[in-house]
Symmetry: C2
Subunit: 436 residues, 2 copies
């Protein structure tokens, strides 16, 4: 996202609806010591000797993680996901989990990975790093469409490829903000069983959104069709970079032994980061233990904060661009039930040039939605193997996905920035929509 | 290393010279709180506000790291490596650094990565994960041989390939224990310039070895030919998983901008772990600050400990298998000047079957050196893309590298384990050398 960063640096007075980072006003530096102490006390209470605790903290740890039981307990209490600790791999953020899953599932060029489109950049970036092409499954205005997924599966099959997995953020998706309904969830699981497809469920925004949430795909999964990726980076401690993946699928390893997909992910992880830092595991475990596994309660205040910011943003947009004015301009946005993001459709090209004009003349920054379409503007950002350069400017050519849409993030703006920023955005949209 | 782990679990009473993990008797759990506090105090003394410090600890941080200046200061004081902080990328262990470097340097099948052989498994594992074949450069009994490297370069060129980099551990190599002499270092740099080759210098064992050390390749590098990978996992805090890479090479990115290789590595890192956990950076920075950048002093006690263990092992081996007996059997070992490892050549196949016999009948475990030869026993361990399975049992076939050699690690055994373990090893070697 280099270009976006440059624009942000070049126009420091602009209000930015770009960063998807969590608000950190709820965090407290001294609390870190408390979390760490809590984990050490827990280990002592469990009967660990001082030497054992020293080893737990200082030494290389198990590749799959040292707090798998605590994560599994939390998943049972807070997410109704009941899996053995052995199916959990603790990772350096959800990002590493994505890399591991892609690497494990793709065995050759015939294996296809399908991704909701628009799509979180982390999954397409990890795929590019591994030279794995991804196949987009177009979302509709309300998000996931089962027919689109089935059509893509058929199309891949017709090309002689084997669809292995479908990556999706069912709750408050990044970037579109959409949430998959309950019926779509059950139908997606049936479809996965019918087509021998795995679902990779990414779920970072559930606990920072107002509840009660819909059930995760994993909690509805009776056939081990779902690989569930989670993160504590939006909730407990972004800087700890702690994520995890639940992969309870039975597989047979290269030596012919029956094992779990989690074990295969751990083998790959041993060549990426060896193991997740003990300190990150300790502080997150300390927080989970302090909350008695109920992150939903620990995060209640944060969820209200983000919900307020989202409602405030929607109200201000409505006030500045009421329905009749929107209709006249050809502008519309969705109204997400939670999460950090919403999408705004506009009647002009919301490209890099428009972004610069918005920042320079109107003092407001947003993210072109085209960045989130596989093959979009991000293309040129990752050096290496394929030299993705030529794709970098692809937006300049044909009318790709999301070209007339922008993403707003509400997670890192203050109430006064929302009021002023939406006013600026409305002025920019009016100006950019005017016939030139 | 699944098979080795299984053997270790199956024979819990065996003394193991296999693990290369550091001894943790010098560490102190409470010290973690002190390191963390030290970093926070330092930030406060530098003028950071409480909010700024909270953000530093809790928030997503810069991809390339938040303690680059502290690492750069330490490199100047302790390693005579004088580079700007901008050329440093802080990573989740040296392992992530290897993955980033490989991904950045290999742009297509014509780009060849050369590795010293035998070779640390981390680099070959990372290469396999990225589907990058590596080309072995055979070591001699004393380690690095310039002629071998030149021959491999010529051979790759003749095949139409472009040698991009040579990976080597110049000091106390894992697995062979050899150290590159000063003259070889300067000649390697000249050779690199002549052949337009980068040197990837991995240096985990310098500060856990008795000093004074030879200069790093990077400190001798006047032409930015060396990418230097380092780790605090053997010295300050294994569980923090903190490594770094110095990459001050000027490059041109996909957008045509002049930048540093470090920036390209950071772009790749953003798709692997996003950023290195703040906590790991904070505790290591705290330790570096407490030692006023002199890890060499902080580690003096550890270096003596490892040196004692190595001398003790060599003395016991000598006592059990004196020179004339060794000559009669056809056994020999090297005498490393430091580090964790030594290699023992034996007159029989030191394969998995021999390992099981050694553990079961003699109660001693070691690592087959063949594991460390690119294409050796590890081959089957990593699931995914190429289904490396068939290579997994390659040792059973032709006489590959290191088949009659084993690696001993002295880092994680106590003095009494060394005395008893070497006695057992000598008995095993005698038995296995006897004509059957």
């Amino acid at each position: 996202m280099t270009f976006l960063n440059e624009v942000t640096l070049r126009y420091p007075d602009a209000i930015s609806f770009a960063p998807g980072r969590p608000y950190d006003g709820f965090f407290d530096t001294e609390q870190i010591f408390g979390y760490l102490r809590g984990y050490l006390d827990h280990e002592e209470a469990q009967g660990s000797s001082p030497e054992r605790i020293r080893t737990l903290m200082y030494q290389y740890g198990p590749v799959a993680g040292q707090i798998r039981d605590i994560v599994a307990d939390w998943l049972r209490v807070d997410e109704d996901i009941d899996v053995p600790p052995e199916s959990v791999v603790v990772t350096v953020g959800a990002q590493e989990a994505m890399l591991l899953v892609l690497r494990a599932l793709v065995g050759g060029p015939e294996d296809a990975i399908l991704v909701a489109s628009p799509c979180f950049m982390g999954i397409t970036g990890a795929a590019r790093l591994l030279d794995i092409p991804v196949t987009p499954v177009p979302e509709g205005p309300d998000g996931f469409r089962r027919e689109a997924l089935e059509a893509v599966i058929e199309q891949e099959r017709a090309r002689g490829r084997r669809p292995r997995a479908f990556y999706v953020i069912p709750d408050h998706s990044n970037p579109s903000g959409t949430t998959m309904g309950l019926r779509d969830r059950t139908e997606l699981l049936e479809l996965a069983a019918r087509h021998d497809l795995l679902i990779v469920e990414d779920s970072p925004y559930r606990l920072v959104s107002p509840g009660p949430p819909l059930p995760t795909l994993k909690s509805l999964d009776r056939a081990r069709r779902v690989v569930h990726i989670g993160s504590f980076a939006k909730t407990v401690f972004p800087g700890a970079r702690l994520g995890f993946v639940v992969a309870d699928q039975p597989v047979v390893d290269d030596a012919g032994r029956r094992t779990l997909l989690a074990d295969e992910l751990a083998k790959i992880k041993s060549m990426v980061t060896v193991n997740t830092p003990s300190l990150s595991q300790a502080v997150v475990a300390g927080a989970l233990l302090a909350a008695r596994g109920r992150l939903s309660e620990l995060n209640a205040k944060a969820a209200v904060h983000y919900d307020d910011a989202l409602r405030h943003t929607l109200q201000e947009l409505e006030a500045r661009l009421p329905a009749d004015r929107r209709a006249a301009l050809g502008v519309r946005w969705n109204e997400p039930s939670g999460g950090f993001f919403l999408g705004v459709r506009v009647p002009f090209r919301a490209d890099n040039a428009a972004l610069v004009r918005s920042a320079e003349e109107f003092g407001v920054i947003w993210t072109p939605m085209s960045y989130f379409y596989p093959g979009g503007e991000l293309g040129g950002d990752l050096g290496g193997r394929h030299g993705d350069g030529p794709e970098g400017g692809s937006e300049g050519g044909s009318e790709g996905g999301g070209v007339r849409e922008l993403r707003l993030s509400i997670s890192y703006v203050t109430p006064s920035e929302i009021t002023e920023g939406t006013a600026r955005l409305a002025r920019f949209i009016e100006a950019a929509s005017a016939p030139s």
